[in-house]
Symmetry: C2
Subunit: 250 residues, 2 copies
Amino acid sequence: MVNSESNRHMSQSERTCAMCQLRGFCLPGHMGEDVLGAISTIIKARPPVPRGTYLFNQGAPMTAYYFLRSGSTKAIVVDDDGRESVMSFLLPTDIIGAGAMQRPVYYDSVVTLERSAYCVLGIKDLTALFRDKPAIQDTFESKITSRIHLERHARTRLNHTTAEQRVADFILELSDRMHQLGRDPDALYLSMSRYDIGSYLGLAPETVSRTLRRFGDAGIVSVHVKQVQIIDRKSLTEIIHSPAAARKLA
Amino acid sequence: MVNSESNRHMSQSERTCAMCQLRGFCLPGHMGEDVLGAISTIIKARPPVPRGTYLFNQGAPMTAYYFLRSGSTKAIVVDDDGRESVMSFLLPTDIIGAGAMQRPVYYDSVVTLERSAYCVLGIKDLTALFRDKPAIQDTFESKITSRIHLERHARTRLNHTTAEQRVADFILELSDRMHQLGRDPDALYLSMSRYDIGSYLGLAPETVSRTLRRFGDAGIVSVHVKQVQIIDRKSLTEIIHSPAAARKLA
DNA sequence: CGGACGGTTGATTTGTTTCAACGTGGGTGG
DNA sequence: CCACCCACGTTGAAACAAATCAACCGTCCG
């Protein structure tokens, strides 16, 4: 989804925060060399892993946070009856593993949706870092806060909304996050399957497919399987705020 | 909903945590006299207010937390288009106003659903109290954690579920909370309207009404408008875990 | 090359909403 | 204190959106 790992032959030591193109969007933010150094000593950069790799499992002891350098993941929860549902999609610079929130075990499992590279930050190391560099804690908490907002939005998105409203909202959510990563907010790559999108939005995969096609027919987006280009952003926001707006595209 | 304010002629000074029947379920927990005293000096007990009273408004500066002594409330969010939706129902001993979470303004508005009495705890006073009595902070955070669980559950409840599953789940959620308050978990009083329940569950009020009647016809609960008695708890859990279970009551 | 999974499209079914009418109970004002 | 009134609740009939069932296709991977 986001490729900042184009050079696959970097040595382990070269994968430092100072070298990372995502630095400004990630935990270090735009802080000085000292902060950068402090993080780099405790964060562990891992080589890329293939699609379908579990970063951690629901219920496992909560030992570390994860950050993507490239690729994308989904966070899934398996309920008592074995049905899995997608709780969120995690992109580079997102804090991964924070769903637990002061809890001893991970709340969900996180799986890569494509070949991805990530960094690991031990929870104890992080707490120590907070003491040394309080500015880091501020960045951390602001990231947590915006995630809480996303989660709340995810709930209201399910309440009294049509399939078109949900899909439109999903597209704009992804677009916003691309924008936050300094990337083209109109060119989206849907690394997740239609099943995953459906699970996330509370829809059948067929409905996701059909809705995307209708948007495409109406000239709101262009859809080529996983490649989505936003053409008429205004229509998308209109659809979200009034289900009747979508009626026009029949 | 919960009446611990039966004696309406208590003087202000008598409405202390030490006197409160809910003490053990509330912030003070089962801690010693010193903690009780410390809280009592900073918490402000207010006389009962009628139904429809706003404790605070969405967007207003976040200055205090609230705790119900009696009655019940709903937390509502008004979106851009003016549509209001119920985010949660707050009962006695719940921390009210924590939706903001480190933010300068309240995230939602909280309205009483019936005549209710509450206490006010200034956010600055609370922070000071945390320094003095760290045990209080633990209780506070554990209450926040269980609320986060409820919120997460509220989301999964909307995903791929039928009206019957949602209503059954709602009934058991209320029942659990009654149980936590040491009250009869089978005798429920729905202080909120069918509209509110529908808004909370993502259903039309008519659907809530019909579903409750069907449960009543099947002998799972007995419904007398706002009075609900749980008769067959096992069936309710079965319905939640398998929509097919509800089919039998056709 | 073949198989399996993901994606699309169509036909049908079904649960829920919407619209409409009627009942009811609590609160208010005469 | 009673009567009116209005918001809330219930019930029925019709409309509709999405799920389900089913078939087919493309493509990526073994």
